[in-house]
């Protein structure tokens, strides 16, 4: 109940909902120019769509973390004055991001399906998206509660997310940039976001089944992130009214 109302609140404040669609589109245009035309890192069919699928996943991930981190402090007056489940605050932030993410992804998917057709593997999409949501929610709980105690978390996140973006298989696949098996495996498996991007792109852009290890990785990472984030949040939330 509280959750729904908080969501309403945040959605209401996101009046310029168009911006959520425009921003990734502009980003995609810029990256297409950079990596598709100027540098030519990768050759893929329908490259803008290839790019876009990865990009919306990334934008959801990074924007959720960046906006969840300071969320508890922003709502400090509420936390000091009222008793309610504190996790609704980061959860509301992530949910708002998820709604816009789904809207943009739906547009991309419709265009992709129209141009490239639909594969049977698309039935996996709900599972992958649910896992992505759980993964992002878990990490956002972690980011928000740790930031309330240690104000360095948000700047560290901002600093880490930029190189992380370039190391994630958004505008390339690991195959495109390296022939070294070790480096490729590292790009594919050491970056927890990579399997999400790869598998979601497989089912929407590629029309193929993602590999079983990738799907298992995605589900396991989601469960781990959510369980870990929720557990830490519960341990640290008691003193929130004092620290925010």
């Amino acid at each position: 109940m509280v959750r729904r109302e908080l969501r309403r609140k945040y959605q209401g404040s996101a009046l310029g909902i168009a911006w959520y669609v425009v921003n990734p589109l502009v980003l995609m245009g810029a990256y297409y120019l950079m990596f598709g035309v100027v540098f030519k890192v990768a050759e893929h069919e329908d490259y803008p769509l290839f790019l876009m699928v990865g990009l919306v996943v990334w934008v959801f991930f990074s924007q959720s973390l960046l906006s969840a981190a300071p969320a508890l402090l922003d709502q400090g007056s509420l936390i000091r004055k009222a008793r309610f489940p504190r996790e609704t605050i980061p959860a509301a932030v992530v949910t708002v991001q998820a709604v816009t993410f789904l809207a943009v992804l739906a547009v991309v998917a419709v265009v992709t399906f129209a141009l490239r057709g639909v594969g049977a593997s698309v039935v996996l999409a709900p599972v992958l998206l649910a896992a992505l949501f759980a993964f992002v929610l878990g990490l956002s709980l972690l980011a928000s509660v740790t930031h309330a105690y240690f104000r360095d978390v948000a700047p560290i996140l901002a600093a880490v997310l930029l190189p992380w973006f370039f190391l994630s298989p958004i505008f390339f696949t690991p195959d495109d940039i390296t022939n070294n098996d070790g480096a490729r495996a590292a790009l594919e498996w050491l970056n927890p976001v990579a399997p999400f991007i790869t598998s979601i792109r497989d089912v929407i852009w590629g029309g193929v089944w993602p590999s079983a290890p990738t799907v298992l990785y995605v589900v396991a990472a989601a469960a781990l992130a959510l369980a870990g984030g929720a557990a830490l949040f519960r341990r640290m939330e008691a003193e929130l009214a004092v620290v925010v």
Partner: protein
């Protein structure tokens, strides 16, 4: 625990009052702590208090005597270092009116939002909507975003919502001085009605006359400990004596 019953058992709570309370990650990693600065303040020091359902209790004391800390501990907003704080049934806290209002939303939306924060279901809020709107005397202003409200309108809406939330226990911190005189009287009357209905009331206030009017029992806090606990008239006498403001 019966609804409306309140128990504080040997409750203690200290607050760290360093201005720079942000422990940074670096300090944590290096295992370093701030040295110096004022020592923690013992806001509550072994406070034991039992309040029966339907009682009306005023908490008075100097600034910093632990009044607000007592309420926040009872409300479960701030955990105790040791001891136990429990309230039976539904608890409504009025620590700050209008906390959690969305400034871009109109009055009705904020009633829904605020009600939800207090754990009411949508149907429960809808049932009380008209009563809340009427009580707030906002008239057509209920349709415009609260950021356009005057501060008086803002707190009137906040009080109207809180006053209509079903509760077994009401914890009120110095927020009855709301609006003009007529509205203040109305607030007091509303509180009295709720007390008639059997709500347990805990009121923190510096307004001696208000405490004497609304409370049958008074707890005087001093330095985080109970200095007096008893009938309102005796309690207020003790309070005035302690403060050196005896008149007569």
């Amino acid at each position: 625990m019966r609804p409306g019953e309140i128990a504080l058992d040997c409750a203690s709570r200290a607050f760290d009052i360093r201005g720079d309370r942000g422990r940074t990650l670096k300090e944590l990693l290096l295992g370093r702590r701030h040295a110096g600065g004022p020592p923690p303040v013992q806001a509550l020091n072994d406070v034991t208090l039992r309040i029966e359902p339907g009682e009306t209790v005023g908490i008075v004391g100097r600034n910093g005597a632990g009044k607000s800390s007592t309420l926040r501990a009872l409300a479960g907003i701030v955990p105790l270092d040791s001891g136990r704080a429990e309230c039976g049934g539904r608890v409504v806290t009025l620590l700050e009116l209008g906390a959690g209002f969305g400034r871009d939303f109109d009055g009705r939306e904020n009633i829904l939002l605020n009600g939800a924060l207090h754990g009411m279901t949508r149907a429960e809020i809808e049932d009380r909507m008209d009563a809340i709107v009427a009580f707030s005397e906002l008239g057509e202003f209920i349709e415009v975003p609260v950021k356009t409200y005057s501060s008086g309108m803002f707190v009137r809406l906040g009080f109207a919502i809180a006053a209509h939330i079903p509760a077994d226990v009401m914890l009120i911190d110095e927020v009855l001085a709301v609006g003009d005189e007529a509205f203040q009287r109305k607030c007091e009357q509303r509180i009295a009605e709720r007390v008639q209905d059997g709500v347990t009331l805990v009121l923190v206030s510096h307004d001696a006359a208000l405490v004497e009017r609304t409370c049958e029992r008074v707890v005087v806090l001093d330095g985080g400990a109970v200095a007096f606990d008893g009938p309102a008239a005796d309690g207020m006498a003790h309070y005035h004596e302690m403060m050196g403001t005896v008149t007569a």
